[in-house]
């Protein structure tokens, strides 16, 4: 990205308090900002050719008890991707929808609501999107034990065909418990 473009960006970020930004790679800008200033920044950037919201990612950070939301916006003119990182507390886990600024946000927010349980105020539709058959807690949370859920829900280990018994007679079979833990750590 040219110097001129960076100047243009810093003129945007100067208008909002507590913004850190750096150019991590060619065409990648990482911005860290306070959650309440995000809609203002997005509205400003949209007016400066960053018209494409390509994704919203959510990261569960149980060690800080918060969610990190990353808004990726792309400019076709600058050919630059801005990733705006914000952090919101896990309780109550609510944030405002940016649907009024970027219309495609509706799908991303619906997806994040389903996978992480984050509520977006003002989002047009937060009904189940992919997991329409899902009854349990949001599955992408790190507190959700996938393996335990699988063992409780599916009885797949009951399948004991003859060939498997023959393998076990020869000394094969599942890895022992202690060895299994080592594999997981690797």
């Amino acid at each position: 990205m040219s110097e001129q473009a960076i100047d243009k960006l810093s003129s945007v970020f100067r208008e909002v308090p507590n913004v850190q930004f750096k150019q991590t790679h060619a065409r990648r800008t990482e911005v860290k900002l306070r959650a309440d200033t995000l809609p203002a920044i997005l509205a400003l950037l949209k007016g400066r050719s960053y018209i494409h919201l390509s994704a919203i990612s959510c990261i569960d950070r149980p060690e800080f008890d918060e969610f990190e939301l990353v808004y990726h916006i792309w400019s076709h003119e600058e050919k630059n991707l801005i990733s705006a990182h914000i952090k919101i507390p896990k309780k109550p886990g609510e944030f405002v929808s940016v649907h009024d600024i970027y219309t495609p946000a509706a799908y991303f927010e619906r997806d994040i609501h389903e996978m992480f349980g984050v509520k977006f105020e003002g989002a047009p539709n937060l009904k189940p999107f992919v997991l329409t058959e899902w009854q349990g807690p949001p599955p992408m949370l790190k507190s959700f034990d996938t393996e335990k859920y699988v063992q409780d829900t599916y009885d797949w280990l009951d399948y004991q065909p003859q060939w498997w018994k023959e393998v076990q007679e020869k000394g094969g079979g599942y890895a022992p418990e202690d060895r299994r833990a080592v594999i997981m750590e690797d």
Binding site: V130, L131, T132, E133, W134, Q135, G136, P139, F144, T146, E147, Y149, V150, T153, Y154, D155, W156, Y159
Partner: protein
């Protein structure tokens, strides 16, 4: 002294000799007919492929000119109602399993299922995923599994030949198991989808039609379906009142 009378409308295998009749037993004439029918059926299979898994990549070479499964009389079919063979090409999530069961129940019997790859056998590489089912045969009966991740078109072709052999010998009878043990299959389906799960196909009535109704066909799980019966009941047109002005004098 047992009073033995020959019923006028006899079953095809009614035996008037002094022995118990095996319900599975077929008359010689029936055997010949079935043998011919099986022989023909094995050589003209219409294939419905459910391509949500990676086996979808292996099917184009298996079906088109490189391996050309039409040599075996197999052809892709667009709708489940005309298809004989359902290919489950890889992993199934809970959501797609619902659609598979809907497609499977729409198919006309006799119908056959081939499960591709390790995902349909025990979950494969998705063994610890919350979203995918692990064993396909718990939910619908499966005739053949192809081992591998993913099986090559040669293996797919081999399985087609194997299935044809089984049909020809009258051994590919997994579809009968669905009617005989419907309650067991439904129990597994309801465990995933909840008690409100129902399809528009009346499997118990079909089991009766194919004379495959057993004690395991109905049970406590099929009882839950009864409350949905009205939803799909045929509309009784005899009670419809024609408005006065529409009557033709």
């Amino acid at each position: 002294m047992v009073d033995k009378t020959i019923p006028i409308h006899a079953d095809s295998n009614t035996d008037v000799t002094c022995r118990n009749i095996d319900k599975e037993e077929r008359t010689l004439w029936r055997k010949v007919i079935d043998r011919i029918a099986d022989h023909c059926r094995a050589r003209s299979l219409f294939v419905l492929h459910y391509c949500t898994g990676c086996g979808a990549i292996e099917l184009p070479p298996a079906i088109t000119s490189r391996f050309d499964s039409e040599r075996l009389g197999m052809q892709p079919m667009v709708s489940p109602r005309q298809a004989d063979l359902l290919l489950i090409t890889g992993y199934l999530s809970v959501k797609t399993l619902k659609r598979v069961i809907l497609s499977y129940e729409q198919m006309q019997s006799p119908k056959y299922v081939i499960g591709f790859g390790s995902c349909t056998i025990n979950g494969g590489m998705y063994w610890n995923s919350y979203a995918t089912i692990k064993r396909l045969e718990a939910y619908i009966p499966v005739d053949l599994y192809i081992a591998g991740c993913m099986p090559r078109p040669e293996a797919v072709q081999q399985s087609f030949i194997k299935l044809m052999e089984q049909i020809d010998n009258g051994e590919a009878n997994a579809w009968k198991d669905y009617y005989r043990n419907y309650d067991r299959y439904l129990a597994k389906q309801q465990a995933l989808f909840g008690d409100e799960w129902h399809t528009h196909v009346d499997v118990v009535a079909e089991a009766e039609h194919y004379q495959l109704l057993t004690e395991q066909t109905t049970g406590q799980h099929t009882k839950l379906l009864e409350k949905f019966a009205n939803q799909y009941a045929m509309h009784d047109f005899s009670t419809v009142q024609i408005p006065e002005e529409e009557k033709v004098e």
